[in-house]
């Protein structure tokens, strides 16, 4: 198989990269190991933030459908149930496994890695019991498969993911017994915290989960207050009767393919750990490989879409479909939009982290 631009990952970043490049005439092929495209978008049943041009006020699930429609309109090929298991020749070819055992090679001129992130886990006594799940797994079960993972839930982590999943659990008919965080302050946005407090869900900051109790399945969770150095304060332990413990303690870029291809990395805690170095056009240190979305720093779906579009425009230019002047004009507009989305106090860390990644690019 042959294409001009291969995109690995069909989440918001990957689809946006594909659509943007295809708009200018690039032949684009998207591959995704999942049976359905859209990445996390179809779990996001809440209305997105941002401005109108960032699709604010539209639910993630509807943005997913809009992007898939655009893929059709611009003749983007989307190969599902297709695993990209290797990158050859500095990004000029991919090894694919299609379905259960069919191995194929996809030759390409440019490559966008939009492989997303994976959830961080948290080790505590009993953490391997059935009933301890990632918050993302809860969302998948609940919002995609319409299966409620439990009736009484403890959520660990007060970032936006933990807060939003708590709200969705109530919508789905479960009870959220508490949301806890080891830090002294709530991590996510106040509006998400307020909307679950109104429902009567308590939020305990400076609290940690000590163990999951139960034999063969979760029957309870022992939580405790922490003091200086995040050490458990004696005699503050108490057991909550829960059948599910949802872990929402952050994400890590899923960057194995970029490592194996030979992209240079930097460790940037603000972005979730090791991330491939890139420039303002989302180019990695290998000139034909771009990275967009969570794989190059944990962010929001809205920023992932902007990064995707930037890479699509940059790739279209380098393939000869766009003139230099026009490209710069388009990129400038997208960068302004990204800056706006990262302009508030909650995005200060991400913005600083991105600055570090790009600084490293120009040093390399």
């Amino acid at each position: 198989m042959e294409t001009e631009l291969a995109v690995i990952g069909s989440g918001p970043a990957g689809l946006s990269a594909a659509i943007e490049a295809a708009k200018f005439g690039v032949k684009v092929t998207v591959v995704d190991e999942n049976p359905k495209p859209g990445g996390q978008l179809f779990k996001q049943i809440h209305k997105f933030f941002g401005a109108e041009k960032h699709k604010a006020g539209v639910r993630g699930i509807d943005i997913g459908n809009q992007l898939l429609q655009q893929c059709q309109d611009f003749n983007v090929d989307v190969l599902l149930n297709t695993e990209a298991w290797a990158i050859f020749d500095n990004g000029k070819a991919l090894g694919l496994k299609r379905g259960t055992d069919k191995i194929e090679k996809l030759s390409t001129k440019k490559l966008v890695l939009a492989t997303g992130a994976m959830e961080n886990s948290l080790a505590f006594s009993g953490w391997t019991l059935p009933g301890v799940l990632g918050a993302g797994a809860i969302q998948t079960l609940m919002n995609l498969h319409r299966v409620l993972p439990g009736q009484r839930v403890l959520i660990v982590g007060t970032g936006n993911v933990g807060l939003i999943v708590s709200y969705q659990l109530i919508q789905a008919g479960a009870e959220v017994v508490a949301v806890i965080d080891i830090l002294p302050k709530i991590g996510g946005w106040g509006v998400h915290a307020s909307k679950i407090r109104r429902l009567g869900i308590p939020i305990f900051t400076s609290h940690t989960v000590k163990k999951a109790t139960g034999n063969g399945e979760v029957k309870g969770a022992v939580i405790a207050k922490v003091g200086p150095g995040y050490k458990i304060i004696q005699e503050t332990e108490r057991e909550l009767k829960v059948d599910t413990i949802g872990i929402a303690v952050g994400l890590t870029p899923m960057a194995e393919l970029a490592w194996s291809a030979g992209c240079q990395f930097a460790h940037v805690p603000e972005l979730g750990g090791w991330a491939p170095i890139h420039n303002e056009r989302m180019e990695t240190t290998l000139q034909d490989i771009y990275v967009v979305g969570d794989v190059c720093g944990i962010g929001e779906a809205s920023t992932a879409m902007e990064e995707g579009q930037i890479s699509g425009i940059a790739a279209a230019e380098s393939l000869g479909y766009l003139k230099r002047g026009k490209t710069e004009e388009l990129l400038e507009e997208k960068r302004k939009r990204l800056d706006t989305l990262r302009g508030g106090p909650f995005a200060t860390h991400t913005k600083a982290g991105k600055g570090k990644l790009m600084k490293r690019y120009y040093k390399s």
Partner: protein, 166 residues
């Protein structure tokens, strides 16, 4: 006291300094008015676009807090469903002699029905009184964020922010 970052609930002090919080004079006058409980600079502006009266201003930088011109606001409630943070309510203190009418976003099933008695909850989810549902609006424009209006005793109108079905 500033409490939002610690327990998720806006304190009176925090509420009073919000540019989207109408002055108590306006609320006292009793006409329907939006109460925008948005206290953090996050990149978001659908409320501004939703207002046909130009009563909500965020401006060029979408990280600005929304500010409300309470005199332009008609209390129509279009902003309630438009706010992705579900942080906008409409309060009409002088609905009747004894009761205020509060409108809130309510994304749960089953939906209450007009005439139904429900529990009125404060910002911490505590039951503080009973409420009677007056209207449930769920037009296409609201995009699956129904707006429920209910009556509570007047003096509770700045505390009640949610309902629970009986």
């Amino acid at each position: 006291m500033r409490t939002l970052r610690f327990n998720g609930v806006l304190s009176e002090e925090e509420l009073m300094e919000l540019p989207g919080f109408p002055s108590l004079d306006v609320i006292e006058k009793g006409k329907p008015v939006a109460v925008i409980e948005c206290a953090e600079k996050i990149p978001c502006n659908p409320c501004e676009a939703s207002c046909s009266q130009g009563a909500i201003t965020i401006g060029e930088d979408i990280n600005n807090l929304p500010s409300l011109d309470a005199y332009k606001c008609t209390g129509c409630g279009l902003c309630i469903a438009a706010c992705p943070g579900l942080a906008i309510f409409v309060v009409r203190k002088a609905y009747t002699e004894s009761d205020a009418l509060i409108s809130i976003p309510y994304e749960f099933l089953p939906l209450p029905e007009a005439g139904e008695q429900v529990e009125a909850l404060d910002r911490e989810g505590k039951k503080i009184c009973l409420a009677k549902v007056a209207q449930v609006r769920n037009s296409k424009k609201y995009d699956r964020t129904p707006v429920v209006s209910f009556t509570v005793p007047k003096e509770k109108c700045m505390e009640v922010r949610h309902i629970r079905l009986l």
